[in-house]
């Protein structure tokens, strides 16, 4: 096995190079398919599986229980409605509060009966009501507003920092791909959408742009005076930058994904449904997709947006002229050391 350090060296010198930029048509096609599929999944499945926090649900209150074990209430609900994720809490002494997704009248009666027998209380000690969403339309509206404001300001910030709006555009396109595919994959998992999942989703937005900025900063360095150089074309410089930061991208993805994977594993296999599983699934998908999106979408997109600028077209011509000239004059072994892109 080639050691990772050697791998890094070869990427740095350009000895080993992956064609992220020149094969962009393939990546863009894959991304377009992924985006379309991700949009179709929730549509085919009839929307996202929204949880109690978004849609409201049914609430049972059991008073005067002898045993305040929340497991009893959970079982009583899941016996009647398999797959439900009831939330059971103990209120003031010996009253239990059980909340679950909205139940039909029939189910409500059955759950009520189950609670009476399981907790061993009298019939009039169980009451049921319905509750509204804790994550109402106003929360969603404010979150969306925040999201839009963030994306706009981040676009400005990047355009200002990198001194080119094209980097902002490329980064935002990469971000959109991440958002849509993460949402689509989450919908495909059929996990309930909970506030935790939304929070995981928002974390991914920030992570995705963060990852893109790190790679773009290297691109900025590499292409700072590409117009005066005949070493590589603009697209080749961008590709080299992505290759040179590839070790960073892999290491960062691994370091970010390892804790998340451990939370996901414990959340999904040991605890079942809940905050940890929802949040870590969104993060797990998002971190991996973000890393890929920066490398395969955002960076090639930036190269593509700029390589047709007249100055850069002229520069690319000079590069090929120099290469042709060198080939003609210098046929000695090991004469040129170019990077094939």
């Amino acid at each position: 096995m080639t050691s990772f350090a050697t791998f890094g060296n070869e990427l740095y010198t350009g000895k080993r190079s992956y064609n992220f930029v020149s094969k962009r048509k393939i990546w863009f096609t894959i991304a377009a398919v992924a985006v379309i599929v991700s949009i179709l999944i929730p549509i085919v499945r009839g929307g996202f599986n929204l949880g109690i926090d978004f849609r409201g649900g049914s609430e049972f209150t059991v008073s005067d229980v002898k045993d305040t074990n929340s497991g009893i209430g959970e079982r009583a609900v899941t016996e009647i409605v398999p797959g439900a994720v009831p939330r059971v809490a103990n209120i003031a002494g010996n009253t239990m509060r059980i909340q679950t997704d909205k139940l039909s009248d029939d189910e409500t009666l059955k759950v009520k009966a189950a609670l009476i027998t399981d907790y061993g209380v009298q019939e009039d000690h169980v009451t049921s009501t319905f509750i509204g969403p804790t994550w109402g339309a106003d929360v969603t509206r404010q979150a969306l507003l925040g999201l839009v404001a963030f994306v706009l300001l981040a676009t400005l910030l990047m355009a200002f920092y990198f001194r080119t709006w094209r980097m902002s555009v490329a980064a935002i396109v990469g971000l959109l791909v991440v958002m849509i595919t993460t949402a689509g994959l989450y919908a495909a998992s059929d996990f309930e959408v909970t506030p935790s999942a939304i929070i995981g989703f928002l974390t991914i937005l920030s992570y995705s742009l963060y990852d893109t900025v790190v790679v773009f900063d290297k691109i900025r360095e590499n292409t700072a005076d590409v117009e005066r150089s005949t070493r590589r074309t603009f697209a080749e410089e961008v590709n080299l930058a992505v290759n040179q930061t590839l070790v960073r991208s892999i290491n960062t993805m691994m370091v970010a994904v390892l804790p998340v994977a451990s939370v996901l594993f414990i959340g999904a296999y040991l605890l079942g449904a809940g905050t940890l599983r929802d949040l870590s699934l969104a993060l797990f998908i998002g971190i991996i997709v973000s890393t890929f999106s920066t490398i395969f979408i955002a960076a090639p997109m930036y190269a593509w947006l700029r390589m047709r600028e007249p100055v850069l077209v002229k520069q690319a011509r000079r590069v090929s002229q120099r290469r042709a000239a060198e080939k003609a004059t210098d046929d000695a072994p090991g004469g040129t050391a170019e990077v094939s892109v």
Binding site: K15, S70, E221, P259, T275, A337
Partner: protein
Amino acid sequence: MARTGPTSTARRTLLWLGIIFIALAMLLGSGAIWGSASWAPKLALDLEGGTQMILTPKVQGGQSITDEQLNQAVSIIRQRVDGSGVSESEISTQSGRNVIVSMPGTPTAETRELIKASADMSFRPVITAGPGAATTPDKMLPDAQLPVPKAAPTNASDENWIDAALYKTFETTSCVPPVTEVPTNTDPAKPVVSCELDSGTKYILGPVEVPGKDISDATYGLQQGAQGATTNQWSVNLKFNGEGATKFREVTSRLNGFLQANPQDPRAQFAIVLDGRVISAPVSQAVIADGNSSITGNFTEASSKSLADKLKFGALPISFDIQSEEQISATLGGQQLEMGLLAGVIGLLLVVVYSLFQYRALGFVTIFSLVVAGALTYLAIAILGWTQNYRLSLAGVAGLIVAIGQTADSFIVYFERIRDELRDGRGLVAAVENGWRRAKRTVLASKAVNLLAAVVLYFVAVGNVRGFAFTLGLTAIADLIVVFMFTHPTLQLLARTRFFGEGHHFSGLDPKRLGAVPLYRWAGRFRDPVQISLGARGAAKGKNSGAQAEAERRQTIAERRLAARQEQMAGSRGAGSASAGSQDAAKENK
């Protein structure tokens, strides 16, 4: 020892970090001893439980509350609760009629007031005023003498608003104990009878001239006196929006006219009405044109703050009563937190193993940096729990676990830049300085994105999202502090040790493993690589000699060797490793 060298700067920076730590620990410690702080972070509703309050709307008779009113109430209560800290309360409706508020801990009297009071404020002109006690039956005006409007009222201060029924109410109302109940849902277009309880005065007030929704912001503070000196009186300062400011100017100029004509005219007063009660009825001494007004009444610091907090987020469509208030247990079992923490520990161990595998001894710098970042975050969370009521939910715990990855990335970016510099043939000390200069920009730019996300979401979003934004911002700041004040100074010092400086095989910075150019073979001593590459490039491509130094430094090894060979330097073909390297590179040409 030189006082300005990198070594002493590095030592000083580490010392400052130590001071920050001690200061934070002392702050928290003194808070724990003398205040209400605790060494453990506060936990949120899902992990610790709290109080559940069921609020029922105060409506008369069989009146019902519409869905719209209920949702509006939930939204405003949420903003008010959010405005008082980052505690991630849950607010929801029950049976389409009640509002349930669940919050961690035990709510104080102020919090209760905050969530149930309508805070419907309006400004009405005074038409007439009188002593607070109800008029005794023998003093009441006989029916024949009751006022009858002579014409339609022309403005809100017009005495023609008073009709017989209104005057009767005025007579029977008592503003001293036993106080007459305030009618709810008064019509803003009609005059009312209202009490000022502090002074025991009752008023007949004209229709609402400036409604509470025209208040754009409310703050509280000590009243400024005429000479600009601060008095001892607490006040609530209001700022009106454009519409409110215009109306306020019209009203104050009319009322000021009454004052100019007759200093004793009650109509020179305007009443500030809150939830049906007059909280103050100042005389309009001047025309207020700038849309800023301040209310003084019988305020304490706490009551002025509480009123300002309520006014800021608007009035509830209806007042509420707290029907029940009960302790509620955590909705997530202790198992969830334990498992979450276990997952965090496992994840951290995996990161440790991966870092050591990737960066060898340098991995320890990552691990120690993460420990420092963790300790800093812990202190910050505990302190903010005390001062801002910041509470950690399970989602927050998971967010912190994720932050491990983003924090470690700063080190990875930095280490990779150092390795790049080493590959270019620099000595470790120079590589650390140069690598840092370039990594610093990247780290700052990328953390700026995280901070932006945190700040925007914190100020715009509500509820859980706000708590999340807080955690995100907190970890980004902790990360920056650690990279600048721990990781970099530590590396500066380590670069001067033999183990790292000489590139020990296990240091993670072994130039041979990194394929660095062995400059010393053909130059006898270490040479500044910038000089060499400049010379080589200059000779090879004269037309580019003006290119920036940074661009020159970015030459690949193969290129530099090529340039060197073209310069026909003695022994350039003979140097085994150099030639092998360039031939490998050449083979890659396709």
